[in-house]
């Protein structure tokens, strides 16, 4: 059972474009939504994360938009660069009240930014 649905599976944009990656979830207990960036041959690295008490979070060129009522969140990359070419994963985890919660990941989006 996939609890976090991510789209698109792949995305190609030109340098300077604004790629948008979308994720949807079903579990209303989720309360932390990170995005991970993975370059070839490397493990995923935390890029940016959001809690549901805010609708948007921005860090540099990366922005998360969050819609709690629709149970959706998305990643926007402003002024994209070829160096942003990577696989991006959204994820979610519930606040179980303890510390043993785990992340559930989307299936990933392969982003290619052409020069």
């Amino acid at each position: 059972q996939q609890q976090v649905k991510q789209s698109p599976q792949s995305l190609i944009v030109q340098k300077g474009g604004i790629p948008i990656i979308n994720c949807a979830y079903e579990n209303t207990a989720f309360d932390y939504f990170p995005w991970y960036q993975q370059f070839p041959g490397k493990g995923p690295a935390l890029l940016i994360a959001i809690r549901p008490d805010v609708s948007e979070k921005k860090e540099g060129r990366f922005t998360i938009s969050f819609n709690k009522s629709a149970k959706q969140f998305s990643l926007h990359i402003m002024d994209s660069q070829p160096g942003d070419s990577a696989t991006y994963f959204c994820a979610a985890t519930p606040n179980s009240g303890g510390s043993n919660y785990k992340l559930t990941f989307g299936k990933g989006t392969l982003l290619t930014v052409n020069p």
Binding site: Q6, P34, G43, P44, S99, F105, G106, K107
Partner: protein, 112 residues
């Protein structure tokens, strides 16, 4: 800088072999995780451990076991490797009370 180190980047094993994948973290993290990554399937949780000698099954534990005798080390064991276990294996750790994971660089296992 925090580190999660996976002992091998590439492994080739034969069907039926017992395979050990090792992961060590130097951050004194309590929680450790093993994922496998396959094209189109994303990251799927195999097992996780929230403390020494503690373990819980993830979403796809069949054919795998784990061992955590010391806080810094979390081992994934393939009791009898099969070709459908050919994959990228990723280890991660997380400190209690914090959300973010730190991942290792992965072990690409090929079972022939």
């Amino acid at each position: 800088d925090v580190k999660v180190t996976q002992s091998s980047r590439y492994l080739v094993k034969r069907t039926g072999e017992k395979v050990f994948l090792e992961c060590v973290q130097d951050m004194d993290h309590e929680n450790m995780f093993w994922y496998r990554q396959d094209p189109g399937l994303g990251l799927r949780l195999i097992y996780f451990s929230y403390d020494v000698k503690m373990k819980e099954k993830g979403d796809i534990p069949e054919g795998y076991s784990v061992s955590r005798e010391k806080k810094e080390r979390f081992s994934l064991i393939l009791e009898s490797a099969s070709t459908n276990q050919t994959s990228m294996y990723l280890c991660a750790s997380r400190n209690r009370g914090l959300y973010g994971y730190t991942f290792g660089s992965g072990t690409r296992l090929t079972v022939v």
